[in-house]
Symmetry: C2
């Protein structure tokens, strides 16, 4: 078997390219073949300082341009073909790499994925997926912001793509899929969530089990392995959870610093706090793939640490080796009928029986 080759955008993260170079070295030491994409001079001088780097499966691919905060997805795809991120995708297209990892802007990543890989046939829109911690382990939520306005066909496709991803990433043989809503009862929610729920509740295949609506609290109780939502709501849910976790940490720190006794207590609790931080830290969960494009592209968050970036490279390599993309393609083919039914609802050609409004 040939080694899986990763293209790493070396100028994507908040602490680039140091984090990326160190992560590439760590991954290469584990046998992953990494091409660092970005300014050749800067990358070469950093690599030169690493003892034994010359022996590792590491390469540099020059990309003279950098994506800035002012760049929008369309601007990059049309106007910055030589930026490090699109160059990564070009390497895969030319057959010089098997997967992309980047900590850059997720909107630009999505545009690159669409433009360079294309969509999986039968998928209307790709989604950004995120692992979320729960009391009982991990779940995945999608879409996290790629698609602000969603239709029933999008959400039903997210259910299928998310279920395949959950099997590959978390080993769930038949993941429990739920729709994020404002109440568990099936009449709760918007037209979008209600119609999606009605279609998914008719699913009889082996890919997933539909568990109905899940509320915001249910997600963290571990009520579902895959939580489906539109990109607007998903982004709010993700950012609220980050915000609350940071606020919790802030007030905990403040309370600790109020007295010497508390400080002593906190010292004794250091290992316990480290464990807590591990659970709540997005770094723990590494990157997540763009789902629905015709290739592997792993997005890590901008502040991803060296460890999280290394983890993303490992995950990317594993998804190539385990053939995630072909499995996604097959699942889309298998569920064509459900997607067609969703499109008919979206186009007003078919109307499901209204869910009995318990509220009269």
């Amino acid at each position: 078997m040939t080694t899986t080759r990763l293209a790493l955008d070396a100028f994507g993260g908040d602490n680039c390219p140091h984090t990326e170079v160190n992560a590439a070295v760590r991954a290469a030491r584990q046998g992953i073949d990494v091409t660092l994409v970005g300014d050749e001079g800067k990358l070469a001088s950093l690599l030169d300082a690493v003892p034994g780097a010359g022996e590792l499966p590491l390469r540099i691919h020059h990309a003279p341009d950098v994506i800035t905060m002012d760049d929008t997805p369309s601007k990059v795809v049309r106007g910055k073909p030589d930026a490090s991120m699109p160059k990564c995708f070009d390497l895969v297209r030319k057959g010089d790499a098997d997967a992309v990892v980047s900590a850059g802007n997720s909107g630009v990543m999505l545009a690159c994925g669409l433009f360079k890989y294309g969509r999986i046939k039968g998928v209307d829109r790709p989604a950004i997926v995120t692992p979320m911690p729960t009391k009982t382990g991990l779940c995945v939520m999608l879409d996290m912001g790629a698609n602000v306005d969603c239709r029933v066909a999008n959400l039903v496709q997210f259910a299928v793509l998310g279920a395949v991803y959950s099997r590959f990433q978390h080993g769930h043989a038949k993941p429990r899929v739920g729709v994020l809503s404002n109440g568990e009862e099936e009449h709760k929610g918007t037209d979008l969530t209600r119609f999606t729920g009605q279609l998914l509740s008719g699913y009889r295949g082996d890919l997933f089990e539909y568990v109905g609506n899940v509320e915001g609290t249910d997600v963290y109780e571990g009520a579902a392995d895959v939580v489906v939502t539109d990109g607007f709501t998903g982004n709010i849910a993700l950012k609220v959870s980050e915000g609350v976790a940071r606020m919790f940490a802030h007030y905990l720190r403040e309370a600790i610093n109020e007295s010497t006794i508390s400080k002593l207590g906190a010292l004794l609790m250091k290992p316990a706090f480290a464990k807590l931080r591990h659970v709540m830290d997005p770094d723990t969960y590494g990157g997540a793939p763009l789902l629905g494009v015709n290739g592997i592209a792993i997005i890590t968050h901008g502040g991803a640490s060296e460890k999280a970036t290394t983890n993303a490279l490992e995950v990317g390599a594993r998804f190539v080796d385990d053939e995630l993309t072909p499995a996604l393609r097959q699942a889309v083919v298998d569920n064509r009928d459900m997607f067609d039914a969703a499109r008919r609802i979206d186009n007003g050609e078919d109307v499901l029986a209204p869910v009995k409004e318990a509220d009269g």
Copy 2:
């Protein structure tokens, strides 16, 4: 000045009527006149056991019926006129009370508010508001679930109602109003949030300052005093924040129990943890009024403690004394033009200049 009289639904909460009776006694000892509404026999026997209850401004109003989990808003309003919650509103209508407090189902509360108080003239839909803790203090978010499908006119009205409430509840002379969205840039969001933002950014009055889009993380950093959103998204945000806080507490407990040293540390940190719990506990923030109905109705959460219920009675009395409802009415009159502009957008009669899509 006559004493302000509160009607307390004694059969609304999870531990009713004990919590309600004890809270009524506490509030009455502070000079608030409370009518406990519910089963006369049960309430009388509980009150008889309280030493000195006879000297307090406490009354019982008989309501033979109880609202169950199976009751829907319309079922209660049409079919259970003798349940404790609608009976509370009847007391206000008859002039025997000035405000209502209940821990019952918020949907039923909204229906009672609409049916018994009616809407404030010029308000299309009332909203449920919730105080949320932030790193810098408290903000209020609305709507939290009363209105799943919202239009621009609703969100603009929520901004005005929420700003008045923020002034009364948190003392902000000119509250900062933000629209919950998936990005700070003004082109981010849905049509609903973008049009709302465009209208609010044109506001030049003294009631509030518009600060633009706020993301989920921004809310907990304290970026706004009033966060406006539709009831679906607001409910997700609220439940996610509860879920994350509970998960945090769960993992913290688990980490503490792993070693004797951690347990000792936790013991020393007891006052610090108590302070943290105080910040994160919804009980701390008591109840919140239904905003947009023509009278004071305070909703507390089902598990509200005695202290939180007492607090809700105090808050209700204060809103009557400070004349919150007339202030809300005035603000609606003052902002009639903005509401009309929003309705024209909703009806497709007027189109705002499209926000420049940075994304081309």
